[in-house]
């Protein structure tokens, strides 16, 4: 059937925001008479929820949300991979905190968004430090609630991604215990509703290549990126400058190596009982027709 | 002279003219046949038989709590009898034109005095004509200057007069009045009695008046019924010509008979 409106879910940082500001996808789809609608989310899990029911067609999340989604039988596919959050995602504490390392988190309350990529970071960092996950107290909070809880010392540490990490940096000069780039070799993902991807594969590929263009532009114009992010999301400029400068821009097809990495994450979640059943990542990987 | 032309003539006579007391052949207004009414296991009315011809002025008397209000409610179709049956005269099938002046004023608190009286003209007149007629009758009950006030600022007797005006302003076929003048002083009371009689003579409706004033009953009614212990204890014609003179020997004698029956 004819596609009239194309809905893209995005968060307050990274490539899709640049693409929106540059209007690259709109331009690429304009000759087909498709209008583009941008829908903002504060975290990955609600975006997967919206993808599942087809409220949005495509979206970009961290590594964990699609695993939770797939375990729940969500109607989603991996369409492409993006670089990981890397420097832009961390576990951190207030500078006055006695906690000096990940090992000190034992018995402490750590704020984290359930089923987010930060959740994965926390799990992996603890594993690396040799602390069983059940020896800390995870406090599952949305970024908004966690921000308030961190401000009033209701949680001892906070694990979150940009721009929330960058905002916390500008506000508290926190002590960083671990960053994604130090702990994990993972990606973030461009997801699509399964039915949508089947019905409109060319729209998905067009979008991915448009994002690729935006990534090229962003890599070369980092000075303008922060301003663009600030303008679209309303996040304070100083925080977006920090976030923009440590973001890796790019979009690439999903390789077997990426699938293996993501599968390892899924297995870890299953072992810890974070998801109720094992999943096979390769089942949910979408390949563009003709490839 | 037919009844209709009689009415026409009468309406031009200022003071109440004489009225024939001989029971001419008239249609029936309504009839109670063995009507009983119980609330729970308390029997209030028990086998009431009452046949009332159209145009009659009937007064109902009885001790407090004997069931007078209940009788009127049955007549107006507001309650169902527990036994027996009621029949209405031909014109009265749907008894749409039965007007009821309740024992309480029942004025609409959200309508001005004149609007409350206009309620009595529902389906008869509306707009400016209704207002004019309501104002006219308010003048007759002595409340023309209170037309635009809320009912809540009226005195007890004033409220009762507004309710009376509302009952009289339409052209009822049966008018049931439950102690309409109970809260009025002697003078206002006599004025209202005269008003009631005048309008009854002009419009020739069937009137059923519950009252606790025996003098009032014999002064106004063609027939007086006394209720006692759920039954009709006395059913008395008042064969006195109109206009009647209050305090006349004839009326006093009838009053005595009724009082004897009530108190005996």
């Amino acid at each position: 059937q004819e596609l009239k409106q194309f809905s893209i879910g995005y968060q307050k940082t990274g490539l899709p925001v640049i693409a929106r500001q540059q209007q690259v996808i709109e331009k690429a789809l304009s000759d087909k008479g498709v209008t583009v609608k941008w829908v903002e989310f504060t975290a990955g899990p609600p975006m997967v929820e919206a993808l599942n029911v087809g409220a949005i067609d495509v979206g970009w999340t961290g590594d964990a949300p699609p695993i939770f989604g797939q375990s729940a039988g969500a109607n989603i596919v991996y369409a492409a991979a993006l670089p990981s959050n890397g420097e832009g995602e961390a576990i951190f504490v207030k500078p006055t905190s006695p906690i000096q390392s990940v090992a000190d988190l034992k018995g402490k309350r750590v704020g984290v968004g359930k089923g987010t990529s930060a959740h994965n970071l926390l799990v992996a960092a603890l594993e690396k430090a040799g602390i069983p996950f059940d020896q800390i107290t995870p406090v599952y909070l949305s970024p908004a609630d966690a921000a308030a809880a961190f401000a009033s010392d209701q949680i001892d540490a906070w694990t979150v991604w940009d721009p929330f990490f960058a905002i916390a940096e500008t506000r508290y000069q926190p002590r960083v215990l671990a960053r994604s780039s130090e702990v994990l070799k993972v990606n973030t993902y461009f997801l699509a509703n399964k039915d949508f991807a089947k019905a409109h594969p060319e729209t998905v590929t067009t979008t991915i290549s448009a994002l690729g263009e935006a990534a090229k532009w962003a890599d070369q114009n980092r000075d303008k990126v922060a301003a663009a992010l600030h303008e679209v999301t309303g996040v304070p400029l100083d925080a977006q400058i920090i976030a923009a400068n440590r973001t890796k821009f790019g979009i690439f097809p999903i390789t077997d190596q990426i699938i293996a990495g993501q599968q390892a994450t899924a297995d870890r979640f299953y072992k810890l009982g974070l998801i109720p059943n094992a999943v096979r990542i390769s089942d949910a990987v979408w390949t563009a027709p003709g490839n | 002279m037919t009844a209709a032309s009689l009415t026409a003539v009468r309406s031009f006579v200022a003071t109440p003219p004489a009225r024939p007391v001989e029971p001419i052949e008239r249609q029936r207004a309504f009839a109670f046949k063995g009507v009983g009414k119980r609330f729970g296991d308390k029997t209030v009315l028990d086998g009431i038989d009452l046949d009332v011809p159209a145009g009659q002025f009937l007064a109902v008397i009885g001790k407090s709590g004997c069931g007078k209000s209940t009788l009127l409610r049955l007549l107006a179709g507001l309650d169902r009898p527990t036994s027996g049956s009621l029949t209405y005269g031909v014109e009265e099938q749907g008894h749409s034109r039965t007007r009821f002046m309740f024992q309480e004023p029942r004025l609409l608190p959200w309508a001005s005095v004149v609007k409350n009286v206009e309620v009595g003209l529902t389906g008869i007149a509306s707009g400016a004509e209704a207002t004019q007629r309501a104002l006219d009758i308010l003048g007759e009950v002595g409340l023309a200057d209170r037309a635009d006030e809320w009912p809540s600022v009226l005195s007890g007797g004033q409220k009762q007069r507004v309710a009376l005006a509302r009952a009289l302003v339409g052209h009822p076929q049966i008018l049931a009045l439950d102690e309409p003048l109970g809260a009025l002083d002697a003078l206002t009371r006599i004025e209202m009695q005269q008003l009631l009689e005048r309008i009854w003579i002009t419009q020739k409706f069937t009137a059923v008046l519950v009252t606790h004033d025996v003098a009032e009953a014999v002064a106004l009614a063609d027939r007086v019924v006394v209720i006692s212990e759920g039954r009709i204890a006395l059913d008395l014609e008042v064969p006195v010509e109109r206009p009647r003179r209050r305090g006349s020997v004839e009326l006093a004698r009838l009053e005595g008979r009724i009082l004897d029956r009530l108190f005996g």
Binding site: F68, A72, Y140, L141, D145, Q154 | -
Partner: protein
């Protein structure tokens, strides 16, 4: 009304829900209604059975009910006390009513960020939100009830030498009771509503948590189940309030002749 007629008139009320559920089940089985949009009633029943067997459901209901009642007790009693005080004393009303009316206009769920700052993310925060949500319906209706007691009756009580205590217990409170019950029933509704939102703030037990978790795992049957349980609990609370109402308002025409 005869027994038969009552049965019939109640029967007609259950007709619509029964039809809806039957239609829903048929649509689900026929595949017209995909399970990831709305699971079949039988699937919901299954989820109910599964969670009951595992004990999870009972535990979560228990936790939520305890939270609800604690918040209700705190907010309701403060609201009732202040409503009484402000209904009876002009000084108290003058001092506090303007402030309370100003606060009343703040939707209490908008306070969540501040509540986290002040009370943290634990039980206190949930208790405070429920208490605040419950406070206003009780306060406003108690005040309203007292102010709308028939002034003729109060005048009568005064003239008959009732002291403040007697006037309160024999005239004002019985007269205010119908309005207080209206407030009570609103407050019970708000109580559950608040709890649903409050239990999404970092709870690890309770019905709200169960629903939230089911939402994350896209377990729509559990989502629907939790909605039904909320409805049931709400119904239960409401029925209790109605029973109390019926017992204490026996004189009221609306409660005579069933």
């Amino acid at each position: 009304m005869s027994f038969g007629a009552r049965l019939r008139s109640n029967g007609i009320g259950w007709l619509l829900p029964a039809l809806v559920i039957a239609g829903w089940e048929i649509a689900s089985r026929a595949g017209v209604m995909p399970a990831n949009v709305l699971p079949a009633p039988s699937a919901v029943a299954e989820a109910f059975w599964r969670l009951t067997l595992s004990g999870e459901l009972i535990r979560n209901i228990g936790v939520s009910t305890a939270r609800a009642l604690a918040g209700f007790a705190v907010g309701g009693s403060i609201g009732f006390a202040l409503g009484l005080a402000n209904g009876l004393s002009t000084l108290s009303r003058g001092l506090t009513d303007t402030t309370l009316q100003m606060i009343r206009n703040i939707p209490h769920l908008a306070l969540i960020p501040l509540v986290i700052l002040w009370f943290g993310i634990d039980e206190e925060a949930k208790l405070f939100l429920v208490a605040l949500g419950v406070f206003f319906p009780i306060y406003v209706n108690t005040l309203l009830g007292i102010q709308s007691v028939d002034p003729q009756l109060v005048e009568m009580g005064r003239v008959y030498g009732m002291d403040r205590r007697a006037l309160f217990f024999r005239v004002i409170l019985p007269g205010a009771l119908p309005a207080i019950f209206v407030g009570l029933r609103y407050a019970l509704g708000i109580m559950w509503l608040t709890l649903i939102v409050a239990e999404t703030i970092s709870a690890s037990s309770g019905l709200g948590y169960m629903a939230m978790q089911a939402r994350e795992f896209l377990l729509i049957d559990v989502v629907v189940l939790s909605i039904l349980i909320y409805a049931l609990l709400g119904k239960l609370a409401d029925s209790l309030a109605r029973l109390l109402e019926r017992l204490s308002l026996g004189w009221h025409p609306a409660f005579q002749n069933g």
